[in-house]
């Protein structure tokens, strides 16, 4: 019976952006239950052989992933797979499983699973997060072996080029492995922007849309598919008009981000009247964007170190962290990297059951707070950063500082680590700059006593706006109240900059607002020392800088600061934006 291609539109939320046109492939969930099946005597040898084959296939997969990780994300990411390789190949463990298969005459998947459960039970009970992490690694290996044994789905058939995968969810390892097989996008039913999968997909610039009502059984493989991960739309069996419309859109989006950054001249960009506006990138996971930024000597204004936690499921040990920081320090030897210490809590914790449940996570145990309680984990991170600091191009940034005591405590712990390293005669940057995020309003209002103590300031406009306006931008009911262009936010930014200048401390902006063209003249007028933004904003921002005459922005700055409503601020900023014409620079450069 021939199935007819039926036009279907699925709406969802984009987790990672982009538009691709390709062919669909539905991935059904593998067997989650491992059922007990009796195996007749005659078939026992074959059952053992199938276990050995599953192990071989798993080892080969892990080996590929390890190599791919080394190439795409650096040595440290590869360590995850190295540990898993050892687990997969454990002869003693496999020997016991095989013995049990023969004596109990049951199927390999069931027996293997039972042994795995027994092995991970003591680990899961440990109060030590590093030891709990081992259970996760063991289970990751086990799920590969079991899915190879069950053989039904998730078999690595040859995936045709330009495939868009549709499935319930994908692990970071799967995203990486599918990307190597040239999959161009994903549609999933579970996950959120801060899920591990979301982080990795964004870092690899792969579009992903999540649709909670995805009904996999009603979808077909082999259909033409348009994945619009900008709006959050999936079109199966698109009409010719839809196809041509999206092809036009793709053309208009222009060349890939990496290419555009590569062709950037004049970094940092200069305004029309020759004022340099320093620009930096925000980084979550090392990937192609970071590679090109390092090449162009664009510094990292915000390295969100917590991805190391989120990608691995628990706190990475000091040596693993050191390898990551050392690698990024080496890559950016020509510029600098600001490493923000682990900023966990609020929305970045949902997966970990060990994290306390809070009634009010936004006002809770987040930012620097958990790290000041888990002192040895904080010191591990500081030690790893300092060990990587011998090129003197690293800076430490402390998140969510709301009070001087938090800064003082952190400084004390950092001093202890420096002392320990000195005793061991290890090289590090003794004068490593230590700065604070300005995101809690109290910080701004105690500036006179706090700012003189720090080395630099970084305004986190996202959280600052939320706290000033008491509105959660992720809450649909009040998201309309959230705007970084609210006069209160602009005034608080101005207060911060004024105090920073009084005490001679460099001040940067690292929230989303830093990359917003609308806010650019305001920041130029305030003489912000650095704008750090998502890499995909850099090119357009640099272009816009060149169109602005910095001697003409003061009236705009005054008028928005005097405004009493978000809408009048936005109106003023938009009319400024529309007024800056497109003028060609000498030499016909248009960047």
């Amino acid at each position: 019976m021939k199935t007819v291609d039926r036009h279907k539109v699925i709406r969802g939320k984009p987790i990672a952006g982009g538009i691709v046109l390709g062919t669909s492939r539905v991935v059904l969930p593998g067997e989650t239950q491992v059922t007990e099946v009796a195996v007749p005597n005659a078939a026992l040898a074959a059952e053992i052989k199938s276990l050995e084959l599953a192990v071989k296939e798993t080892v080969s997969e892990l080996d590929d992933l390890r190599e791919s990780a080394i190439k795409k994300m650096g040595g440290p990411a590869a360590k995850i797979f190295e540990a898993q390789l050892m687990i997969a190949q454990d002869e003693e463990f496999l020997g016991q499983v095989k013995k049990d298969i023969k004596s109990k005459k049951l199927n390999a998947a069931f027996i293997y699973n039972e042994h795995i459960k027994r092995a991970t039970a003591p680990l899961k009970k440990s109060a030590d997060s590093y030891i709990r992490q081992m259970a996760l690694d063991i289970e990751a290996v086990a799920s590969r072996i079991i899915s190879h044994l069950s053989g039904k789905t998730r078999k690595n058939h040859i995936i045709p080029p330009n495939t868009v995968l549709i499935g319930k969810s994908f692990t970071p390892g799967e995203i990486l492995s599918y990307r190597r097989q040239k999959v161009i996008g994903f549609v999933v039913a579970e996950g959120g922007p801060d899920s591990h999968m979301g982080l990795i997909a964004r870092a690899l610039y792969l579009p992903v849309v999540i649709s909670k009502d995805l009904n996999l059984s009603k979808l077909q493989s082999g259909q033409a598919i348009i994945l619009d991960a900008i709006e959050g739309k999936v079109i199966l069996a698109p009409t010719p008009e839809e196809i041509s419309d999206y092809q036009q859109r793709r053309k208009r989006m222009g060349p890939a981000l990496i290419t555009r950054i590569k062709h950037l001249k004049d970094i940092p960009p200069k305004t029309r009247d020759g004022v340099e506006i320093p620009v930096a990138g925000n980084m979550t996971l090392p990937g192609p964007a970071e590679e090109i930024m390092a090449e162009k000597n664009i510094p990292i204004g915000l390295y969100r170190s917590e991805f190391l936690y989120l990608a691995g499921g628990t706190f990475p040990d000091e040596d693993t962290q050191f390898e990551h920081y050392e690698q990024v320090a080496r890559k950016f030897a020509g510029s600098s990297v600001v490493i923000r210490t682990f900023d966990l809590g609020y929305d970045k914790m949902s997966a970990d059951e060990a994290w306390p449940h809070e009634e009010n996570p936004a006002l809770g145990w987040r930012g620097i707070r958990p790290m000041l309680e888990m002192k040895s984990l904080f010191k591990d991170q500081i030690r790893a950063i300092l060990r990587a600091s011998s090129r003197k191009n690293l800076k430490i940034l402390l998140p969510m500082i709301s009070d001087i005591s938090e800064y003082d405590q952190a400084k004390r712990l950092i001093a202890q680590v420096k002392f320990e390293l000195k005793k061991k005669r290890l090289q590090f940057d003794e004068n490593i700059p230590i700065g604070i995020m300005v995101e809690v309003p109290s910080t701004v209002l105690i500036a006179d006593s706090l700012f003189p103590k720090v080395d630099f300031l970084s305004i986190g406009t996202n959280d600052l706006t939320q706290y000033i306006l008491a509105a959660d931008r992720k809450n649909a009911k009040v998201a309309g109240l959230y705007s970084p262009f609210h006069p209160a936010v602009l005034r608080m930014i101005k207060m911060t900059v004024d105090k920073a200048k009084i005490y001679g401390k460099p001040v940067s902006v690292c929230g989303e607002m830093a990359g917003d063209i609308l806010a650019l003249p305001f920041f130029i007028g305030l003489k912000i020392d650095l704008l750090s933004m998502s890499p995909n904003r850099i090119v357009d921002l640099c272009r816009t800088v060149k169109k602005i005459d910095s001697s003409l922005v003061q009236p705009l700055v005054h008028s928005v600061l005097a405004s009493s409503s978000t809408s009048s601020v936005i109106k003023r900023l938009e009319s400024f934006k529309n007024a800056i014409g497109s003028r060609r620079q000498k030499g016909n450069h248009f960047e």
Partner: protein
């Protein structure tokens, strides 16, 4: 057969990295190698076995090495454990 007791001194205990190092070291030798923690005895050449011990800092371990190169093996294994597996704190 040589038997010795030792203590896990590194702060993070016998997690993935030191466990892997211990197993890699022990598998270099011909001799059999067993580790006991309280009443649990595991094959020290098996990463799963060593991990299962969930040996946190301060845990006392009993090491048993038996075979033609037992003296060398025990010496190197003990060295690796007592040096804290090369972790710097």
């Amino acid at each position: 057969m040589i038997k010795r007791t030792t203590k896990v001194t590194n702060r993070l205990g016998l997690h993935a990295r030191p466990a892997a190092l211990l197993v890699t070291t022990a598998t270099k030798f011909e001799s059999q190698f067993f580790i006991s923690k309280d009443s649990i005895r595991v094959n020290g050449k098996s990463i799963m076995g060593v991990m299962m011990l969930a040996a946190e800092m301060g845990t006392e371990l009993t090491l048993e090495v038996d075979g033609p190169d037992e003296i060398e093996a025990m010496a190197e294994i003990v060295k690796i454990i007592e040096s804290g597996f090369g972790e710097t704190s």
